[in-house]
Structure formats: C-alpha cells, structure tokens
C-alpha cells in the first residue's frame, strides 16, 4: 500500500503532462483532473470521443480448473453469464453482503478470468480471493503493477476502431478480445465508465504511450480529446454508475445500492447470499436514491431533507453538464421514494429544492441495444 508521502505515477504520466493535464493526487495516484476543461471533455465524450488514462485500475487474473467456482462463490452475479469472450459486472460480497469491491469479471477461457478491480481495493480483493480459495485448484495473480489501461469512449469510437481493431467492433457490450497491439499481448473490451459506447484496453506499460498517441491520431477526424478524472466523474454519475468507497463499501449491500439486478439469488450459494435473501423478502431500510436540484451545485456529504426532517446525505453529487443542473445520489430512508417526490438539499447552510429522480440520469450510447450486433 502506498503511504501518504509516496505518490504513484502511471506509465502515461509524461504524456498526460505533455497534453496539458492538470495533475492531482487521487487516492495516492497522480492523475489528471482535467485537460481543456471538464465541460469540454464531458461534451466530447457524449458527442464524439474522449480518451482516459485509467491505469490506476487493477487486474487480477484467476486461472485454473476451479477459477469459475471461486468467482461464482465470491460474486453476487452469476458468472455463467460470462462465457468465453464475455464479461459481467458484479459485486464481490462479504459475509454481511457488503461489497468487497465492484468489479468486471471477464472470461478469457473457461479456466482463465481477468478481473478488473478498483485501484484502492486491488490488494484487498487479491487477498480476499486468496482467503476464499481454500483448497480450490486455482491460481490468483495480482498483475495490477504490470498493466496500464486506456479508455476510449464516445459515440464516434466504433468508427475509430474500424481499421484499428475490426474484431473488437463485433464485440457486444462487456465483450472482450485478446489482441496483439504493437507486438504486445493486450485485452480489448467493450466497456467503460462513461455511459457511452467505447473500449478499454489493458496493455503492458512498454507500449502504452505509443498506444495513446495511436488513439489520438485515429481519433483526430472525430476530434478526440484527452479527458481527466473530473469528466470521468460527471460522466459516470450521469450514467448512474457506482463509485466504490463513495457510493458503496463493505457496509452497504447491493440491494441498498439500487443494483438489485446484479444479484442472482437462483445461481446457488455465494458469500452473503442469506443476508440478501432476507433483504429481498423484508425490503431494505435505506436505498441509494437519485435526486436533481433546481439550483446550486450539490456535493458529497450534503444533507438531504424531506418534510423538514433529515432523511440522508449525498454520497456522490455534482453539476450535470448534460442536464445542466445539480444531480446526486444518497442513501435515503424511506427507501422507496417515487421519482418526483420533493426533497431539499442543504448547500452552504441553505436548503435548496430537489426531487427524487430516476437513475441513470442520462442514458448514453452504452445503453443502446444491439451494440456489436
């Protein structure tokens, strides 16, 4: 684990600076918060294309005869959905049904999985998988140090990939293909954290800067722009994607997070299942609920009120460049408020009118049916 005094740099650090990235400390990683500006970057991803350094994300490889068994046991989602060449978004659950992490598990082959984990949790996840493996015939490797990762996101991205990776164009959402790029073994998946169609490429450090330049060149005709963490956050929140450590953690369950579709109760036993069975039957006491504001910009930690009484606080919140108003999500009790229900959010000591909103707040091209078909 990095200490407070050591800051980690991705292999793309110099390139980020060259492109004008304003570097900040993000949970111990030096990453660009923005380049030309969050609004410009956000709009580029929604309308054409943007490119992100997401090398802080982790890669855990699970291989062996019992790879499937281990992942099936430790995940709330059904890994049978991840057939070779496909991935599944899932929650790794602890015995209390809290989240060890939220991940994407890609099945590369029936005995070989690539698990994309969050930056701050990669060591924790690795240790957790190892502790759960017991005598299973499985090899668990944390290769987060060995790989960089680039996300290329936006409606124009498929066009960019026509010549570069035609095999990737056929991928459905959450599909993955192994591909040699510039002589190195890479993983190209049709995934992302923006709500737009696009790809993420996991690649060795040695060629990542060149790959970034290749993408910039390929994206020139559609006006691709480098994007930072600022736009990454506004894009993911508009899309209703969870941020581990902020929206979910070891103490909130999948049902409470509003991601019930991730839970597959009928797949057989998995860690935390009994708790989830009970929560499903009894209902949750709090739920991560979306809201929009009429004025002002909500921030994480802002208190939420209903009928003058505090009912929760915001976990994630920001200005939505697409909706042009404040949006946020927070755990609210009562858990089943209907869209439109009036709320108030306290900003700088003042109560601002808000209302319950459907999540996702905005559906980009990633939500389209038939991607890759």
């Amino acid at each position: 684990m990095p200490t407070a005094t050591t800051i980690r740099r991705t292999a793309l650090n110099e390139t980020m600076r060259k492109y004008g990235g304003k570097m900040v400390d993000f949970h111990g990683w030096e990453l660009p918060i923005q380049f030309a500006g969050i609004l410009k970057e956000h709009e580029a991803v929604r309308k054409s294309a943007g490119i992100f350094d997401v090398s802080h994300m982790g890669q855990v490889f699970v291989t062996g005869a019992d790879a499937f068994t281990l992942l099936q046991k430790t995940n709330a989602n059904d890994l049978r959905k991840a057939t070779p060449g496909k991935g599944v978004y899932s929650h790794v659950t602890n015995p209390n049904a809290g989240l060890v992490d939220d991940i994407i598990a890609f099945c590369l082959a029936s005995d070989r999985y690539l698990v994309i984990v969050n930056a701050a949790t990669s060591t924790k996840d690795y240790e957790w998988f190892k502790s759960q493996a017991g005598r299973m015939r499985v090899k668990i490797e944390n290769k987060s140090e060995d790989y960089s990762m680039i996300a290329i996101q936006g409606p124009s991205v498929p066009k960019m990939f026509e010549t570069f990776a035609p095999e990737a164009l056929k991928l459905p959402r959450f599909g993955i293909v192994e591909k040699d790029i510039r002589g190195e073994h890479c993983y190209v998946s049709r995934t992302g954290y923006t709500g737009e169609d696009g790809f993420e490429i996991t690649a060795p450090h040695s060629m990542i800067n060149q790959l970034w330049e290749d993408m910039m060149e390929l994206g020139k005709p559609c006006g691709i722009v480098p994007c930072g963490l600022g736009a990454r956050d506004t894009l993911r929140l508009e899309s209703g994607y969870l941020l581990y450590g902020q929206d979910v953690d070891d103490f909130h369950t999948t049902y409470e997070s509003g991601y019930g579709w991730v839970v597959s109760l009928d797949k057989g036993d998995f860690t935390g299942r009994e708790i989830l069975v009970r929560q499903k039957a009894e209902g949750v006491k709090r739920r991560l609920t979306g809201l929009t504001l009429t004025g002002g910009v909500p921030r994480p930690g802002c208190k939420i009120f209903m009928d003058g009484k505090q009912v929760g606080e915001l976990a994630s919140a920001t200005y939505s460049p697409t909706l042009k108003k404040g949006i946020g999500v927070g755990y609210i009790t009562p858990p089943d408020l209907k869209p439109g229900a009036p709320l108030e959010v306290e900003i700088h000591g003042k109560r601002v009118k808000a209302e319950v909103a459907r999540v996702p707040f905005h559906k980009g091209t990633a939500f389209n049916k038939g991607i890759g078909a």
Partner: protein
C-alpha cells in the same frame, strides 16, 4: 470595463475596480484555477459587506469557492448575467464576468490591496 492593470487584487484572488462605485470580480488566475464555473450566488443589492468576509459563492464543476469582499461597503448592483451564464467568469473575468458593484464605506481600505505587478508576483510565489 477595466484592464488587468487598472484594478486592485486581494490575496484571495478577487479584483476590485475602485471608485465611488467599485466593481468586483475574480481574477483571471482564479477562474483558471477553478475550472468551468457552473453556478454563481451573488449578494443582494443593499447588502452591507465587510472587507475580507464571504459575500458570494462561485461553483465550478469540481468545487465551491467563497468570494470575499475586497473592501467594506454596500452593494449597489449585481451582475445577473453571470447567474444566467456562469461561463462568463471563465471567458471574461474582468469584463462580462464582474460579480457586483459596491459603494465603499472606507476608501482607505483600498490602499492595502495589491496592484497588478504585486499580484502577479504573489501568484508566482504561491505556485512554489
């Protein structure tokens, strides 16, 4: 509207164009540091402001920033245009992006503020 050399600056990066009616805004350096401004909360006309006390809020996508009154006095006008189009603060912080005007109650207060050269030096020092 004033040129950067014609206004005075605070250590909290506001500018004030001193006069019987003084205009107040944020410096170009400030808007650059804040990033895209998306919301502005202004004081009310008639409101009495105290030097170095918070009197307005500017919100960028990432953060909220308090604006401190450069001098004491009474608000005489506010720039509604920036509440409708907050991006004016980024585009023209010294022109269309002014925040409010005030009638200073103690002209001597203006003398403690930095001129353009001193402010540039201040920003340069702060970067180290």
């Amino acid at each position: 509207m004033p040129k950067p050399e014609e206004v005075k600056y605070t250590k909290t990066h506001e500018w004030v164009h001193l006069g019987a009616e003084a205009a107040v805004g944020i410096s170009d350096h400030a808007q650059h540091e804040m990033g895209d401004v998306v919301f502005v909360e202004l004081p009310k006309v008639g409101q009495k402001l105290e030097k170095e006390k918070p009197c307005a809020v500017v919100e960028s996508v990432k953060s909220a920033f308090d604006i401190y009154s450069p001098v004491s006095g009474e608000v005489t006008a506010v720039n509604e245009a920036v509440t409708i189009d907050p991006a004016l603060l980024n585009q023209a912080p010294l022109e269309g992006g002014w925040l409010f005007k005030m009638k200073p109650s103690n002209p001597a207060e203006g003398e403690t503020l930095m001129d353009w050269a001193a402010y540039q030096e201040f920003v340069k020092q702060a970067a180290h």
